[in-house]
């Protein structure tokens, strides 16, 4: 008699679990299908145009080989993107960390006002300033063929505003550590790199990743600043140019293989740094 209710509970839990898992599988399939589709299409060699089936009839590496051929700009685009993303990742990380540390540790006049202004400015989409920025960059000769320099400048210049998560993390590192180090004889900069930096490893990795990802996948700014000059494109803009009406039949499968190559560095980075990334995202809110 005593067992019956527990059996009922078990059964209802099993049904709940099964239904839950079915739902999760459906969602996963919907989510992952486009990726599988792109990967499969990138190996399709019977023609380069868009087709209505998923599994290729002929398999091969032709699309990838094309990307590295002399008459294709892909390597140039990839290189552009990589340089921009790398430089931005380094500079933006330095800017964000210093900004976050300053706002977390120092108390100065108008600190709150500054933070509020940045919060409000951050609510506007970045591309609202695009027209003005283009004019400024054009005056500095940093558009079209020099788009890489222009893009780096644009991304890095506003990067300090993304200090929130990082500041949240620094706020959880006890101030008494800074004070102890000050009494022990450390300068502010020594405290920053000898005490705070080693403790902030997760948030540094988080910052590097997000700083890298921004320019890596950016389209709007990159397209506008390159302004129709293919040598100034990044991969997103370059690949997009293959999807125009007159190009799509020639380049559809190239687009797919390009997409796969774009994803590789990011996936690799995430696989290695996933642990820190999660710590970084949650660390700011919970504890250091």
């Amino acid at each position: 008699m005593a067992k019956k209710p527990s059996m009922g509970l078990k059964a209802s839990r099993a049904i709940g679990n099964t239904l839950g898992h079915i739902l999760l599988v459906i969602i996963s399939v919907v989510w992952i299908l486009p990726f599988i589709f792109i990967v499969l299409q990138s190996f399709r060699v019977e023609n380069t145009a868009q087709v209505s089936y998923i599994i290729p009839q002929k398999w091969g590496f032709d699309n990838y080989i094309y990307l590295f051929s002399a008459d294709c700009n892909f390597i140039q685009w990839y290189f552009n993107t990589f340089i921009v993303a790398l430089v931005v990742a380094v500079l933006q990380t330095v800017m964000v960390l210093m900004m976050a540390y300053t706002l977390s540790r120092f108390r100065f006049k108008s600190r709150k006002t500054l933070m509020n202004i940045m919060l409000i400015l951050g609510m506007f989409p970045g591309f609202l300033t695009m027209v003005v920025l283009y004019q400024v960059l054009k005056m500095m000769n940093l558009t079209q063929t020099n788009a890489i320099g222009g893009l780096i400048l644009v991304y890095v210049a506003s990067s300090g505003m993304g200090y929130y998560v990082c500041k949240g993390f620094f706020d959880t590192i006890p101030k008494s550590l800074d004070e102890a180090a000050r009494v022990d004889g450390a300068t502010r900069f020594q405290i920053f790199y000898k005490i705070i930096m080693p403790l902030a490893k997760p948030i540094i990795i988080y910052t590097v990743l997000t700083a890298f990802m921004g320019p890596w996948g950016d389209f709007i700014f990159a397209r506008y600043i390159a302004f129709g000059e293919p040598s100034g494109y990044n991969v997103a803009v370059g690949l997009w140019s293959w999807l125009s009406q007159d190009q799509i039949a020639k380049h559809y499968t190239h687009f797919c293989s390009g997409g796969v190559l774009v994803a590789i560095p990011v996936i690799t980075l995430f696989m290695f740094l996933q642990k820190y990334y999660v710590e970084g995202v949650t660390g700011g809110a919970v504890k250091g």
């Binding site: 004070e179 102890a180 180090a181 000050r182 009494v183 022990d184 004889g185 450390a186 020594q190 403790l199």
Partner: protein
């Protein structure tokens, strides 16, 4: 030599909140001074001003005769131990203790061998040699605090600052570490400023105690002075546990003889205290009378010099009873009675609701002014 001199030191936050008022203190070389007081009395703020972690709003702090107001903490020659240990979590115990030595520059720069020697010496003194390769998170609270002390010890600092170093430890460990600090002091023999809210720590550690309240110094004195001759009612109640019983009554002068009239009783002020009252010519007046719980005695029988009370609570502490008793006008007093001298029958009488007659002698009495709460006999201005 490392003297510390604070002259008219003031701390004002946000332009109007005064945390420390006109703090004046001369600390002698190798003296152990304890700042004690309730939360928010300004004791930690004052210490942090000496350390250089807080700006000094007004006045000067001198270390060894040099005004240090505008010097960075690292240039003041001070070491500090924090309440929460403030160990660097990513460094081993050895590296934590070597940290201040590795930052030394110029003539003071140390080789790795010298650093090793200093750190192992400190570790040996503190008994933490076996933990040198561990990270702080693998240590217990007491061990962490030892590392924090070790980190402060390795440098040849002029002044050793300790900000509530034992507050995060459990009671047993606190007692043990307190004794160790007394021993440590003998070994490193430097000037100490120690902040605590615990009057027991203050009494046991300090050569002199600075008792603070709301940013003001209430009294500076040796443990004996502040216990026997509290300058005012606050000090009297703050020092000593359980706290001193204080209540209003009349001080009656009859020729050269004095008596007090607490709760309807008449108790003569005999001995030295009576003579001092007469010498100062203090007239009859209403006063606040203070008597420490350990100086209250149980009277065998009722008489003119006894106060009738009823036992409210009897706290058995092991070696003594803390009796909370109520007088006839509902004033609560505390009486400390050692258990050793009581018979079984007498102990059986000490239960809630039973009547108890108490009394005290003249030498146990402290007399405070009703208006300004200063000690009628020992307040500085009264002398």
């Amino acid at each position: 030599m490392a003297t510390v001199k604070l002259t008219n030191v003031k701390k004002i936050y946000d332009g109007n909140v005064v945390a420390v008022h006109e703090f004046n203190l001369d600390i002698a070389d190798k003296e152990f001074v304890v700042f004690v007081g309730p939360s928010g009395c300004g004791k930690s703020t004052t210490l942090r001003m000496v350390a250089g972690l807080e700006d000094i709003s007004e006045g000067t702090v001198e270390i060894d005769g040099v005004v240090v107001n505008d010097l960075q903490p690292r240039d003041r020659g001070v070491s500090m131990v924090f309440q929460n240990y403030a160990l660097y979590p990513h460094l081993t115990v050895y590296e934590n203790m070597a940290f201040p030595l590795r930052l030394l520059k110029g003539d003071k720069k140390m080789s790795n061998d010298e650093i090793y020697e200093r750190v192992t010496w400190a570790a040996k003194v503190l008994g933490i040699t076996q933990y040198l390769t561990r990270k702080p998170k693998a240590l217990s609270g007491g061990q962490r605090q030892r590392v924090a002390i070790g980190r402060a010890m390795v440098r040849d600092s002029k002044v050793f600052l300790m900000d509530e170093p034992l507050s995060n430890l459990d009671a047993k460990l606190r007692n043990q570490m307190r004794a160790e600090i007394i021993l440590l002091r003998k070994k490193i023999n430097t000037t100490f400023i120690y902040v605590t809210h615990d009057q027991t720590e203050a009494m046991t550690l300090g050569d002199r105690i600075v008792i603070m309240k709301d940013g003001f110094i209430m009294q500076v004195g040796t443990p004996t002075e502040v216990f026997d001759k509290p300058d005012n009612l606050f000090v009297a109640e703050f020092i000593g546990a359980p706290k001193m019983n204080t209540f209003k009554c009349n001080l009656v002068k009859d020729g050269d003889k004095y008596s007090v009239t607490p709760f309807g009783a008449t108790i003569p002020v005999d001995g030295e205290k009576g003579e001092l009252l007469a010498k100062k010519g203090i007239p009859s007046q209403e006063i606040i009378l203070g008597v420490r719980p350990e100086h209250v005695a149980i009277a065998k029988q009722a008489g003119p010099g006894t106060i009738k009370t009823t036992i409210l609570v009897n706290e058995m502490m092991g070696f003594e009873y803390h009796l909370h008793v109520l007088t006839e006008d509902e004033t609560e007093l505390i009486v400390r009675i050692p258990t050793l001298n009581l018979t079984e029958a007498e102990r059986a009488e000490l239960v809630t609701g039973k009547p108890l007659y108490i009394t005290f002698e003249g030498k146990a009495m402290h007399f405070f002014d009703v208006n300004n709460e200063t000690n009628l006999l020992y307040h500085k201005d009264a002398e």
